[in-house]
């Protein structure tokens, strides 16, 4: 009896799981389900992309915070090359100055092996470094980067050699962050367009179903069915399609993302952020089917309500 009661509340013809209106047998149901699956897939991908960009921003920002690189150029402004020994000497002088600075936490002169590792992605593993004029590089970590500290460091190092360059990474990091911010906005736009497309598709489908079953809807209306009774049938129908479609799309997206993760493996680890599923991100992707259901139910509700309001 309880099942009957539940079914009746849903506007379904008793225990056979039928609707008063044969919405589940309508043409276009599979198409709508597929469309929602594709939209959910794209939304899941866009959302994951947005999370990956977040991770990238965090990694690069935190990795370079309070850090700077001091470069002793291999070539001077007048075009002459510095001898490796001169570069080493200058590096030692800079190191000595830096070690006496209270603002400096650590100093490390990069040796040939470190530089080899740095240029490896561009020049390959077996690049003959002895034939290439390499700059001297000093990696510095500060306790805290204040403008006053930076001004003092710049001044002290400038006294050693005015051509020594202090790179705080700020310039390129800012452009990178701007680019990431643009990409995240693009992801947001994509998700918004997906939601709008889904709403439009569901509203169109519901309108066409109302048109197909106009006589039956009118009959229920004439029998005294209130708007809620009729709306429930369309709402439940849209909700079921959205649930099936979005689960399919989201699962497909998860499979694709896991495949990409395992296919790229360690290769992209140096350049790309590590793709770890944070619980919040996982919950957001898992919530996609719920969002799709909510969108579908509300769209169906308001579309049917609008049509019913035209009846006397």
């Amino acid at each position: 009896m309880r099942i009957f009661g539940k079914d009746r509340k849903l506007g379904v013809a008793i225990n056979r799981g039928r609707y008063d209106l044969p919405l589940n047998k309508d043409e276009g149901t599979n198409f709508l389900r597929l469309l929602i699956a594709l939209m959910s897939f794209l939304a899941a991908m866009a959302l994951t992309g947005s999370f990956a960009l977040d991770a990238m921003t965090q990694r690069w920002s935190s990795g370079l915070e309070n850090k700077l690189t001091i470069e002793i150029p291999a070539e001077m402004k007048d075009g002459t090359l510095r001898a490796p020994a001169d570069i080493q000497t200058l590096a030692r002088q800079v190191e000595a100055v830096l070690r006496n600075e209270p603002a400096v936490k650590s100093v490390e002169i990069l040796d040939d092996a470190d530089i080899q590792e740095l240029v490896e992605p561009w020049l390959g593993k077996d690049a003959p470094l002895s034939d290439i004029p390499l700059p001297g590089l000093i990696s510095v970590e500060l306790n805290q980067s204040t403008p006053e500290d930076m001004a003092k460091l710049t001044n002290d190092i400038g006294i050693i050699d005015p051509e020594i360059v202090i790179d705080t990474h700020e310039a390129w990091l800012q452009s990178l962050l701007r680019m990431i911010s643009s990409l995240r906005f693009a992801a947001f736009v994509v998700v918004t367009i997906i939601a709008a497309t889904t709403i439009t598709a569901i509203a169109g489908a519901i309108r066409s179903r109302i048109a197909v079953h106009k006589a039956d809807v009118e009959l229920l209306h004439l029998m005294g069915a209130n708007d809620e009774y009729i709306i429930r049938q369309f709402q439940r129908h849209a909700l079921m399609i959205a649930l099936q479609g979005s689960l399919l799309g989201t699962l497909a997206a998860i499979v694709v993302l896991l495949t990409v993760k395992y296919a790229t493996g360690e290769n992209a680890a140096t350049l790309l952020p590590t793709f770890n599923v944070h619980i919040v991100h996982g919950a957001a992707v898992a919530a996609l089917p719920l969002m799709a259901c909510l969108i579908a139910a509300l769209t169906a509700r308001f579309t049917v309500l609008r049509s019913l309001s035209l009846m006397p």
Binding site: A13, I14, P22, A215, M223, P312
Partner: protein, 232 residues
Amino acid sequence: MIKFEFVGLRYGVGPEVLSDINFTLEPGSFHFLTGASGAGKSSLLSLMYLGRKPTRGLVSMFGQSINTLERKQLWSLRQRIGVVFQEFRLLPHLSAFDNVALPLRIMGRPEKETRNNVNELLEWVGLGDYKNALPQTLSGGQQQRVAIARAVIGRPKLLLADEPTGNLDDEIGFRLMNLFEQLNRMGTTIVIATHNQSIMDQFGHSRLILEMGNLRVEESRSSLRRKIEGVY
């Protein structure tokens, strides 16, 4: 029960199909609505089952003015009206049982009560063996009986029937008229649109006669007798 005062109806910008309709139906009365084809019987019935609103005039149903009621207030009024449509209007994907059960489900009646009532009524109209049949597998007469069962299952206060005996043989037609009489005796107001002169003569109720969109009321012998007895 029903009061029409100077009611007119037109479709779009066309001419009036009903003009200055005036009549009152008392609770528990029984009427035949008759007239030539195209006289406006179905249009008048549609106004009575609240399928449309009049273009002009005042309509009062169950003591409430339809002209001033909001949409939401019409839902409960419609639940008090049973309608047998000329073209039956059964839902083709629902079984005979589910079609008949529909008004009770709309009213939110308990499923057990619904099952008992629907089974009993289907037995009564001779369709006990066709409960699970879809309408398209039934004959015209059987479909009509399902439509009638659907109209009366909710014990309506007002029953409107458009040519309800049109597809039935005389015996079934007579039985159904007796069902309407029985409902009428229980207090249901009945309006039956029909061309069937013999049924009108046999049951002798008052007639609402539509001619070119105008209505004329012809009192029944019994109602005239009642009025005369009331005077003397």
